[in-house]
């Protein structure tokens, strides 16, 4: 008898274990892109993110047997809340892969229509399911199949005790249904502790370090105003290092520094490039392993707009240009080379553009039109004798300045491995490569700020410098820090762009959020100053365009840039590929 019971028990358990079709399982991660797109397609809210859900305990109407064996207690159930939607990591209820895949799409469709605030989730789910079945023939087939399959194969999922009242059916675990958020239903569902800790953002830590950093900077500033110290302590480090090298070279560093300080503006503008790059090369000869931020002079002051008083605060913001030294030149990383190949085909299309120039006194072909014109003209002596035309490769005549926001917020993670700053770096590399191949003129600067006294303006590449491995090295060395005083950075960039000779000037701003700083430069003040800076740039004949990964950007970007002058990238990981595409669209 014992043996028989044991056999039966074993059989029962194995049956249970083999119930899910692991071989045919479909992973959420494989489908996440498609699912998100599908979610938008069916009218899901664009701000919501898709996540993987944890197991949820459900108090089911388990049979005695199930209670005994411990099954039917926790399930991966799809649910949604204000901020996002949550799906199981894998689905494998069905013996065919296509059905498991369809299951994901079904859940997405349900999610777009189910009202999570509904009091009776069972009725709501049934209502939405009926709606979907009626509207989509494909879903109708799937649902009919899935419903009967689930009932016959997973009785613990589908046995419903008729004695349970409607109000309690949230506990009815149907894999085809959508559940309300964990938090709003505490009384019914036990919230996993794990998830709680996971959801704790690590932001408090960040602000802590920021405060510390800020304090030290404030002290520096005070010292600076004494006139005793020309540089920040950190730059003195580089100063010391430099002195050693310079002695070998028999060159006076002090003079250089002074000279730099005097010519500061021009250096930011890219005029003194030869000098600069030669020095960088020299630095590279010594085997330095730490990247130094080398200040190009003491900095200079620019205005800021105070919307309260409606006046410019004259010489209010201090711009401090920096360049990274001891940079190791690097090649384009392998993963980006692949992407570059894809982009190249699109670039080729752009380069095919050739333009006809006619009315030339000499050229490749005779332009019949102008010749006939001449013949038909009553007074030929007055007619210009320009009969030729020629085809030239279109001079794109573009000058593009890329201004990247590298404030501390870019350190936030997109996924566990990738931070925002990583995609910004990748994007800058791919983009610089694209522009280089298009032979468009471009410069790259990054900025971060701590109050009005210190807006760091890092030179990655100015307009004069040739694009090289060194530029990539500098992109690679970008470190996020501090805040986003966007208006000041835009004014400085506009100043640089204004001096360029090109007919079309584009100021491309790469950002991850609203303008903000620790002082009053937050909220309305920051927005108004940035708006003013953009208006000034427009008046200078510069076209500003903002690319952001901030999903809330739709609230303030139209106000800042105008309706057609910004792009919000929802999937930050796509930024490297999208950036050149947006640019090509902009300049086609």
């Amino acid at each position: 008898m014992d043996e028989q019971v044991g056999k039966f028990w074993d059989k029962y358990l194995t049956k249970k274990a083999s119930r899910l079709y692991k071989k045919e399982e479909v992973l959420f991660t494989d489908k996440s892109k498609s699912l998100k797109l599908f979610y938008h397609l069916l009218g899901g809210e664009k701000g919501k993110e898709l996540h993987i859900t944890d197991k949820r305990s459900i108090k089911t109407s388990r049979t005695f047997l199930e209670k005994f064996s411990g099954t039917g207690k926790t399930f991966f159930l799809p649910w949604q809340e204000e901020k996002g939607i949550y799906l199981p990591a894998t689905l494998s209820y069905f013996p065919l892969k296509q059905h498991n895949e369809m299951h994901f799409f079904w859940l997405i469709a349900m999610l777009t229509k189910v009202n999570i605030k509904s009091k009776n989730m069972r009725a709501e789910n049934e209502k939405v399911a009926q709606f979907l079945i009626k509207k989509y023939a494909g879903f109708s087939e799937f649902y009919t199949y899935a419903h009967s399959f689930l009932i016959s194969n997973y009785p613990e999922l589908s046995t419903i005790d008729p004695s349970i009242e409607d109000s309690l059916v949230d506990n009815y675990p149907n894999p085809l249904w959508i559940y309300p958020s964990l938090s709003s239903n505490n009384k019914l569902l036990d919230v996993d502790d794990e998830e709680e800790t996971l959801r704790q953002p690590d932001e408090p830590k960040k602000t802590e370090t920021l405060v510390i950093k800020k304090k030290s900077e404030q002290i520096d500033d005070k010292k600076e105003t004494d006139g005793l110290l020309l540089f920040l302590p950190e730059s003195i480090m580089s100063f010391m290092e430099q002195v050693r090298v310079d002695r070998q070279e028999n060159d006076s560093y002090d003079e250089d520094a002074l000279y730099n300080a005097e010519d500061l503006d021009e250096i930011t503008l890219g005029q003194k490039d030869a000098n600069l790059s030669s020095r960088i090369k020299m630095d590279l000869d010594i085997s330095a392993n730490s990247v130094e931020q080398y200040p190009l002079g003491r900095g200079h002051f620019i205005d800021e707009w105070d919307y309260n008083k409606e006046v410019y605060l004259k010489k209010y913001v201090c711009i401090k240009p920096f360049i990274s030294l001891n940079i190791e030149p690097i090649m384009l990383p392998k993963r980006l080379q692949k992407m570059m190949k894809k982009i190249q085909s699109e670039l080729d299309l752009m380069e095919l553009d050739r333009i006809k120039r006619d009315n030339l006194p000499y050229g490749d072909d005779i332009n019949m039109d102008t010749w006939i014109d001449y013949k038909g003209h009553q007074n030929r002596s007055n007619h210009p004798q320009r009969f030729f035309q020629t085809y030239e490769r279109k001079m794109r005549d573009m000058a593009t300045l890329i201004l990247a926001d590298v404030s501390l917020s870019t350190e936030a993670g997109i996924t566990q491995e990738i931070r925002v700053i990583d995609t910004i770096q990748d994007s800058l590399m791919v983009f610089a490569e694209s522009l280089h191949r298009l032979e468009d003129r471009f410069a790259i600067y990054t900025f971060s700020s701590i109050k009005n006294t210190k807006v760091n303006f890092h030179i990655i590449k100015n307009f004069k410098e040739k694009y090289s491995d060194l530029v990539r090295g500098r992109i690679h060395a970008i470190k996020p820090g501090y805040y986003t005083r966007m208006g000041a950075a835009i004014r400085e960039s506009a100043k640089i762009l204004e001096k360029q000779q090109s007919g079309n000037k584009l100021l491309l701003i790469l950002s991850d959020g609203k303008p903000n700083d620790v002082d009053r430069y937050d909220g309305r003040y920051g927005i108004e100053d940035t708006k003013k800076a953009i208006e000034e740039a427009k008046q200078k004949g510069i076209t500003p365009f903002c690319i952001t990964i901030d999903l809330d950007a739709k609230e303030y970007l139209p106000y800042l840039f105008g309706r057609n002058s910004y792009a919000v990238i929802r999937d930050a990981q796509k930024l490297p590929k999208l950036l050149p595409e947006i640019y090509m669209n902009l300049t086609k």
Partner: protein, 263 residues
């Protein structure tokens, strides 16, 4: 010739007629395939005016619009361009995709588009006063973001502007029914599909499905094509080249029109 079929979306017909009566030029904005050109053709018929359509491109010169000298056995002679023809004889000159034309080309429209209504031709020294029936209509698609292209504000501000969008669901359905002769159920499905695709934003897809594509699909279906196949070829493939987008669009179609071998 049978009358061009056009189903008004809102007040555009009245507005166009009023503008025509007052000699005001019109600017039409709207995405591709939403019925801009069809509207102009229908209005031309309605008002009994010829329509001279010029599709603008970036190599379009002023001479292409105004005209040029040509040669025959007697020497050179002047040949009017489409714009000049319309100005002289009356008619609607419709410049499609005006944004594609070079900015210096569009400037020649200025004197025609305001109270002066004259067209100076510098090559012949002629200044033509526009025929009372002359009307200037331009259109462009504001969806493309572009630094280099865009209408100068000075050009833009000479026009009465009409903004077109894809027709509302019931109107679009009526259009599909009329144009393709497909049965009503399928027309409704197509409109549903379009409604869903149009919810995607510019980042997911460059431009949403046009009424024109829906009519193509409907026509293929009336010709006996499997609805699923018809939609794949007329809607899905022409909207994107990206694999994940294609996959999802295919999925959507398969939900509406099941593949013959499925499940």
């Amino acid at each position: 010739m049978s009358k061009t079929y056009y189903l008004p979306q809102s007040n555009e017909v009245e507005l166009f007629k009023a503008a025509a009566g007052m000699n005001l030029p019109i600017l039409i904005k709207g995405p591709t395939g939403c019925g801009k050109t069809r509207f102009i053709e229908a209005m031309g018929e309605e008002l009994g005016r010829d329509v001279y359509t010029v599709v603008c491109h970036d190599d379009l010169s002023a001479a292409d619009l105004i005209g040029r000298h040509l040669i025959d056995e007697n020497g050179t002679y002047w040949q009017d361009g489409p714009l000049t023809k319309a100005v002289r004889n009356g008619g609607i000159c419709y410049l499609d995709e005006i944004i594609e034309a070079r900015k210096d080309t569009t400037v020649i429209l200025h004197s025609l588009a305001d109270y002066r209504r004259v067209l100076p031709i510098d090559r012949t020294g002629e200044v033509i006063t526009a025929h009372p029936d002359f009307m200037l209509v331009v259109s462009y698609n504001p969806g493309y973001q572009n630094v280099l292209k865009g209408m100068k504000p000075s050009t833009k501000q000479r026009f009465i502007a009409l903004s077109f969008d894809y027709p509302k669901a019931d109107i679009e359905k009526a259009i599909i029914l009329k144009e393709s002769g497909v049965d009503e159920k399928i027309a409704q499905k197509l409109v549903d599909i379009a409604g869903e695709i149009r919810q995607l934003s510019d980042n997911d897809i460059q431009e949403a499905v046009s009424t024109r594509l829906l009519i193509y699909a409907a026509k293929l279906i009336t010709k006996g094509f499997d609805p699923y196949q018809a939609c794949i070829h007329s809607i899905v493939e022409s909207l994107s080249d990206e694999e994940d987008v294609l996959e999802v669009l295919e999925k959507l179609i398969s939900l509406h029109f099941t593949k013959s071998v499925h499940l």
